[in-house]
Amino acid sequence: MIAAGLQALLSHWRRHLLQLFTLIAGLALATALWSGVQAINTEARASYAEAADTLGEGRLARLLPPEGGSITQDTWVALRRAGWLASPVVEGRLGPARLLGVDPLTAPGDLGSIGAASTGDLQAFLSENGALLAREEVLADLPGTGATPIASEDAAPGTVLTDIRTAQRLLGVQGFTSLILAPAQPRRQAPLAEVAPGLRLQEPAEETDVGALTDSFHLNLTAFGLLSFAVGLFIVHGAVGLAFEQRRATVRTLRAMGMPLAVLIGLMALELALLAVVAGGLGLLLGYLIAAALLPDVAGTLRGLYGAEVAGTLTFRPFWALSGMAIALAGTAVAAASAFHRLATMPILAGGQRRAGASWAARRARRQGIAGLSLLLAALAIGAWGGGLVGGFACLGCLMIGGALLLPLLLDRVLALGARLARRPLPQWIWADSRAELPGLSLALMALLLAMAANVGVSTMVSSFRQTFVAFLDQRLAPELYVGVSDPEQAERFLAILPDGVRVLPIASVERTLAGLPSEVQILRDDPTYRENWRFLSATADPWDRLAAGEGVLVNEQLARRAGLAVGDRLDVADGLALPILGIYGDYGNPVGQAILTERLFRATFPEVTPLSFGLRVPPGDVPALSERLVREAGLDPERVVNQANLKAISLGIFERTFTVTGALNVLTLAVAGFALLMSLLTLASIRLPQLAPVWALGTRRATLGQLELLRAVGLAALTALAALPLGLALAWVLLAVVNVEAFGWKLPMFLFPLDWLRLLALALVAAALAAAWPALRLARVPPSVLLKVFSDER
């Protein structure tokens, strides 16, 4: 019985290949977008983890030299002989890569990537010329060093691992950058202050800076992935619903012949699960391809934006595949739930007729609209009174689903209005007909709505982020030249040779706990640069004069938000120094709190800190000559004399990459929505003939009907696009003002980009036209005999 039943059910797909294709393609695309985004996220996260694990960065405590200094070998040996299991590290840049010199004999743990190297390689590692261990693509970009290159795919991305001596030789340094401490130290040690009084102990960070920042990027991608998946689910829901409707006759026959409902439902569930596995597999493959194509750009973005190293190549991770498959199955289950519910509650002899008609469509739209409106209200309530990241995402979810559910009602009302206003019979018919067809198209249109809203929302967010950041860079990167020196003597030497007309802005900070939060206190020289360029989020009337007079501090938004501080509140900056807050400034991308003291007060409070970095205000034309002179006469490291224009160019380049990724995902999501529309139109085309045949028979050409079909699809897409705009802007607002604040502690101002909207509208119309083109063409060429069958009894 089961075999016969399954055969009867499956025979449906053989006759409805298009439907089968819709179902599989929809699910595959949904899985692909979701899993593609997840693959990118997972890969990037794994890359940071690996980079951090090379030396247990973030996991292990370290001993650090005084600011700007290094640790001598003698200090290190003294520590070892006093029972400190410390291992030296030298860090620097080798060509484009990060060079990490370690002592394989004392480094704690497994040294990550060395594990995979062979014995011979390791002998080379310790040999006089040394060896450089890195990924193949990293090795390819290195300058000649005389060291043996060892390719290892296990190496951390963008990192060259080498012996500490080789690193010292290549970087031309004597001492060590830091000492990492083994997690298990011996039972007895001499106190650090006795053995190496100059060193600072840095406890392992709870979360690395890189982690907090890159989360922002991943959050965006995840939101995008989720929305894409939702779009795909709409397709699946439509396809499954249709397949169930069309098989009512089969189901009725099977049940009439005595097949129990439970068996039938089980068979159909099995059938769907099989299809979902096939589609999920295809989707994983597609997602992998998407991720592989986008990952180099993502890697570039993250490297540039946050200094996080991400490999440009993708590795297959079984967990990722499993979760992708699980979400494909779960998605199918969700999408098919209502169809199964109908099947389970349907009387045996229910007819096979499709319900159609404008009045039914309007009733359905009203029901959905009420649900949508309640969800929008819920979103508003959560936005207003809810809190936390979960609240932010709940708000986001309610907003998007509510908006989608409200769409059919909105379109129904607009179309009814159109029909009322129409004077001529064909336009009147097309308005009315579109209204009647809404139930069949509404899922696809909802998908389009979500895709476009996600587009508008994410683009607005990314663009706002860029705009804010660029403006912020202009504020912050006002000095024409940035200079770093290695010691106070060099600082004096370089300051002495500066020509007249160059203003010096010292840069220095100390790590402090402010208001119970890990923060830094920065020095600030009273200079027009700051007065002219900086913009405050809120401030007292004359913050600069009062700051210069030492009457208060400035704090960044992160500190203010996290500690609940407002202008006028007092902040303990140092022991016995509590000052009122004069102003709060935006400090995008900084994970920690920050307070700014005027130079005089800073130097008096933290006499041990000597600024070793400087911003220089130079008449623009003099920049190249001055940088050359600083290198030649003051002996500054050319690497540490940085031209502001270059710095800005690099920062902006990063955003372009962000845009590539966002843009690509935008197009993909829209393509999925377009596909949903195409599939809906194709399915409708076959069951819509009874609507079209009478109009044709009464004297309308098939070509005209085809054109009207096209026009109708484009019109509905345009209406949907109009609805998507406010929804997308609401989405952007939630992302910028709710989710971002909860996740990272700063609020991004929202900017509007109407030209982007126009482009998106055009894109949506093109997508709709493309989706409708084939069905319209088919309609224009449908043989009269097919239309005539509608009227005869043969149907």
Partner: protein, 222 residues
């Protein structure tokens, strides 16, 4: 059949593609219909009677032969011309699915007349009254019974005042009582408008109500 024919069909042939080559359905059919006359077109199932009706109505093209409607040679019309013919000269009442589902009854009745650009609201109201549709004008086709739907189709056809009404088993889906009532109304109203009526039917009862009858067998008039 001596009056000058409104409709004149000569040697019309039509085949449909089949799995083993074309299947001939009409093999040279002829018929004539005078103005204001009614004619029943009968025949076995598959004899080609519906096909002939479709060809006359410009719903499909014959492979060969001539169909003259007044001074129009239907067989030479292009797609645009056939659409105009369907809109302006003929009215068709099919067995089922005559109505535009997205329009209400009132709009359906007016639809063809409006397409034709010759609307007569008073005549429409009268038709609705006569056909007992007045209470249903704001309803949608899905809310009507089969008999009511066919009445709307008849009203819709006659509202446009065609010269020729083509009916393909107009009462085929109705029970006997409704069929009788619908048929009587249709004949009365057609007569009032002065149109000619060609009815495809397999019902002896319907055929008997017509002025004449043509019987098709094997694609030819018997």
């Amino acid at each position: 059949m001596t009056a000058p024919a409104l409709l004149s069909v000569r040697d019309v042939r039509k085949s449909f593609p089949g799995p083993d080559g074309p299947i001939p359905v009409l093999r040279g059919a002829d018929l004539d219909l005078g103005p204001g006359r009614t004619l029943a077109l009968t025949g076995e199932s598959g004899s080609g009677k519906s096909t002939l009706l479709h060809l006359i109505g410009g719903l499909d093209r014959p492979d060969a032969g001539s169909i003259r409607l007044g001074d129009i040679e239907v067989t030479t019309l292009d797609d645009r011309g056939r659409a105009a013919l369907r809109r302006d000269a003929v009215g068709v009442v099919f067995q089922q699915f005559n109505l535009v589902p997205s329009l209400d009854v009132g709009a359906n009745i007016a639809f063809q007349a409006r397409l034709k650009g010759r609307r007569d609201p008073q005549w429409e109201r009268e038709l609705a009254d006569r056909l007992g549709l007045a209470p249903q004008l704001r309803k949608y086709p899905e809310e009507l019974s089969g008999g009511q739907q066919q009445r709307v189709a008849i009203a819709r056809t006659l509202a446009a005042r065609p010269r020729l009404v083509l009916a393909d088993e107009p009462t085929g889906n109705l029970d006997e009582a409704s069929a009788e009532a619908v048929l009587a109304l249709m004949l009365d109203l057609v007569a009032e408008t002065g149109a000619s009526l060609l009815t495809v039917t397999h019902s002896e009862r319907v055929a008997e109500r017509m002025d004449g009858r043509v019987h098709l067998r094997g694609g030819r008039v018997a």
